[in-house]
């Protein structure tokens, strides 16, 4: 219960930060960080996949509403969470962790190096789709890829920053 309240609190804080601070600050042509994705890296991995998927959709839609980008955040977040489920399933042995008596299975159990690769790739998938849907042009593929790469690094840095803040 405390965990659930904590996650809702994190979601609200990061959502507000994303909508009213990070989005409003001009950070250059290619840099558009989206640290709200951190929520999906702190949620327990053994949480029901349908709840995660629907909450990703709702959360993305709320960010869309606040930023005026109808559907772009929600579509990219839904795809990221969908892919994340299959990556989790392939890389994490839930059964053995349950047998070990773990009720909360987090990413920390796999170590920091795993977290870096894991979150960077998921953030890139999200950003690539987000900018793809935003530019909506095959001819802008280089610009989409560049923006997605630069923003991935920006988002990842902010995710690390917020994660360390919330862990304290």
């Amino acid at each position: 219960m405390i965990e659930a309240v904590k996650h809702i609190f994190i979601a609200i804080i990061i959502g507000l930060l994303q909508s009213y601070l990070i989005q409003e600050v001009p950070m250059g042509f290619y840099l558009k960080p989206m640290p709200y994705l951190m929520l999906f890296f702190v949620l327990p991995l053994n949480l029901n996949r349908f709840i995660v998927l629907i909450s990703a959709f709702i959360y993305g839609t709320l960010i869309d509403l606040s930023s005026g980008s109808f559907g772009t955040h929600s579509a990219a977040t839904v795809v990221m969470v969908f892919v994340k489920y299959y990556i989790d399933k392939a890389l994490i042995d839930f059964d053995s962790l349950k047998l070990q008596g773990e009720s909360y299975i987090g990413l920390e159990s796999k170590g920091w190096i795993f977290f870096v690769y894991y979150s960077l790739s998921l953030i890139f998938i999200h950003h690539f789709l987000f900018f793809g849907l935003d530019f909506f042009e095959i001819s802008s593929i280089i610009r989409i890829t560049t923006t997605a790469l630069v923003s991935t690094i920006g988002t990842f840095s902010l995710v690390l920053l917020f994660k360390s803040l919330f862990n304290k």
Binding site: R49, F50, F70, G71, S74, V81, F82, L133, F136
Partner: protein, 298 residues
């Protein structure tokens, strides 16, 4: 049904993700101006290309029906013209104006001799013999008679020489027995004899034209009003070559036919309504055979 339910249950997670993605994507297309216009323009051009493809396909499939319709319509129009011409002739007769027959001699005046048209299809045709004939899919029951002129869409084709109830045989202009006097449009000249020399299905020769006549390459050759079979001023072809370096007093003229006999399909059989009158004049014992009325079977 159970299988479908099981399949949905098994794939509920991807299905839910896909539905949510589609919902979001729909929002993008609906509410974002650029994406909406891109989607709108792309879908319109896609629908147009599909429509175009469908229309082309339907046109192709219906080509035969359309062709038949056009042929019938052509026939109707030709008969309408003939009918209106005959009415003008009748009106002149009532008025006591008997000059309607004379109007044939001038292309500028209204043509008042009327013609009956019957459309037919060529079912057999030859072009490589010295005497070529063609067979039509219509006969006497359809109104085809002997000595009717046969015209194609591009020009003259030949003359009907024999009919049965449902078929007819025609003598092609590509026949050594065929002769006619044409009209050279530019010079207004009704002279000479048009014959087939038996070598090329696109070429005929025009003989007996005096060397003093200034016939040029490209001159249009039409049927003349001296013919009792062919309606006047129908296309025959054009002058392809003129040779005046001969020792004789006549020019050697080569005519390129407008009708391609190798692609002959639909033809019109034409008869003049006053043909019997003209034939009776032609056969009158008081006069010797008239040189101008040709198209005779030797």
């Amino acid at each position: 049904m159970w299988v479908i339910y099981q399949w949905i249950k098994k794939n509920s997670y991807p299905l839910l993700a896909f539905s949510l993605f589609l919902f979001s994507f729909n929002q993008i297309l609906q509410y974002q101006i650029y994406q909406h216009s891109f989607y709108f323009n792309s879908s319109i051009s896609f629908i147009r290309s599909i429509d175009e493809w469908r229309s082309n396909f339907t046109s192709f499939v219906n080509l035969k029906t359309e062709n038949d319709k056009l042929r019938d319509e052509n026939l109707y129009l030709r008969n309408s013209i003939a009918y209106s011409d005959s009415l003008i002739g009748l009106y002149d007769q009532i008025k006591g104006d008997t000059t309607y027959l004379d109007t044939l001699s001038s292309p500028d005046k209204t043509r008042k001799i009327s013609y009956d048209y019957v459309t037919a299809k060529v079912i057999r045709n030859s072009t490589n013999r010295p005497d070529n004939y063609f067979y039509l899919d219509k006969g006497s029951v359809h109104g085809i008679k002997e000595r009717m002129a046969v015209m194609g869409p591009e020009g003259i084709v030949g003359v009907i020489i024999q009919t049965t109830k449902h078929y007819a045989i025609g003598m092609s202009v590509l026949n050594s027995k065929f002769e006619t006097t044409p009209l050279l449009k530019r010079l207004g000249l009704r002279e000479g004899v048009l014959k087939w020399n038996g070598s090329d299905s696109r070429l005929m020769s025009l003989d007996e034209i005096s060397r003093t006549e200034k016939v040029k390459t490209g001159d249009i050759v039409l049927t003349s009003n001296y013919s009792s079979i062919f309606p006047p001023y129908q296309p025959i072809g054009k002058v392809k070559k003129v040779n005046n370096n001969t020792s004789s007093q006549f020019l050697e003229i080569e005519i390129e036919l407008s009708t391609n006999f190798n692609k002959l399909n639909t033809v019109y059989c034409v008869s003049t309504r006053f043909k019997n009158e003209m034939d009776s004049l032609q056969n009158s014992p008081l006069i010797s055979p008239v040189s101008g009325i040709n198209d005779k079977k030797k």
